[in-house]
């Protein structure tokens, strides 16, 4: 049976890449399709917000996870390190007393965007106040980008990651390029 190799297809495999927009000078924005690694949705019983520590502890034995809050008592737990063969049932069991776990590794796509004018660019779609003192490094928000629902994390001073439903990833990608034309934008798929 294993004469077949089932090769995953990244959601953005057909996305336009390369340089777009302003052509003089270096592009000021880079757009990166992050690798599709492990991404779990963790939900505690309704609205218990303060248990991220417990969740992290419970996840520890499976590898190092980063938790991104996605609503009261909800997180995306992601990890570039944990192998995709992770035994979900074991995770479920480990978290059973705290939260439910649902695999979203395929369902949600991560796109990184960075550069000096990144906030200016994002404000073309994202309604929340992105001022550097208002939405600080490490903060997250579930919000809109244009007509799309997105989950936003500020991962560094001028770098943000957007998690979007897989089916919308290409639309988001293309609209981010459009928003970035005036700054010059370089887009690539990271492997």
């Amino acid at each position: 049976m294993s004469e077949y190799d089932l090769i995953p297809t990244p959601a953005l495999i057909t996305a336009p890449t390369g340089r777009f927009g302003k052509s003089d000078g270096a592009p000021e924005i880079s757009l990166i399709a992050c690798p599709e690694t492990v991404l779990l949705q963790i939900i505690t019983a309704s609205g218990r917000d303060k248990e991220d520590k417990a969740v992290l502890d419970a996840l520890e034995s499976f590898g190092s996870f980063e938790l991104r809050n996605a609503g009261p008592g909800q997180w995306f737990a992601l990890s570039d390190a944990v192998p995709k063969t992770l035994d979900l049932t074991a995770v479920e069991t480990a978290l059973a007393s705290i939260a439910d776990v649902v695999d979203q590794s395929s369902g949600r796509i991560r796109i990184a965007i960075e550069g000096r004018p990144v906030r200016d660019l994002l404000s073309k779609g994202i309604p929340i106040d992105l001022h550097t003192n208002e939405f600080t490094v490490g903060e997250t928000a579930t919000t809109l980008c244009g007509h799309l629902n997105v989950h936003l994390t500020r991962t560094a001073t001028n770098r943000y990651e957007i998690i979007v439903l897989r089916s919308y990833a290409l639309t988001l990608w293309e609209s981010l390029i459009e928003m970035g034309l005036e700054y010059g934008i370089d887009s690539k798929l990271q492997d």
Binding site: G47, P127, A141, T143
Partner: protein, 90 residues
């Protein structure tokens, strides 16, 4: 107000992120309640002028159902609470 709703979980968010269902002043009757009670619940609304409570879903945010207490003439918002968790947690 109607442009910006302060979600108790997410902070200030624009109206686009929410879906409105309707009056929060009706309570689903107990299963065995008589037909009148059900009819009232499903169909009749006070629809007063002034202060109202409504169910708003933060559908493009935390996906919590909120009770937005507001004035329907000047659109001032008095209070926004999580429908399930109530005021104490917001």
């Amino acid at each position: 107000m109607a442009s910006i709703i302060h979600c108790p979980h997410c902070g200030n968010r624009p109206r686009e992120e929410f879906t409105v269902r309707g009056s929060a002043d009706v309570t689903r009757p107990a299963p065995g309640a008589d037909e009148d009670a059900w009819f009232d619940y499903v169909y009749l609304r006070d629809n007063p002028i002034g202060r109202v409570r409504e169910y708003w879903h933060h559908s493009s945010g935390c996906r919590r159902w909120l009770i937005v207490e507001r004035n329907n003439t000047d659109h001032a918002v008095y209070q926004v609470t999580d429908a399930a968790i109530g005021e104490d947690r917001s």
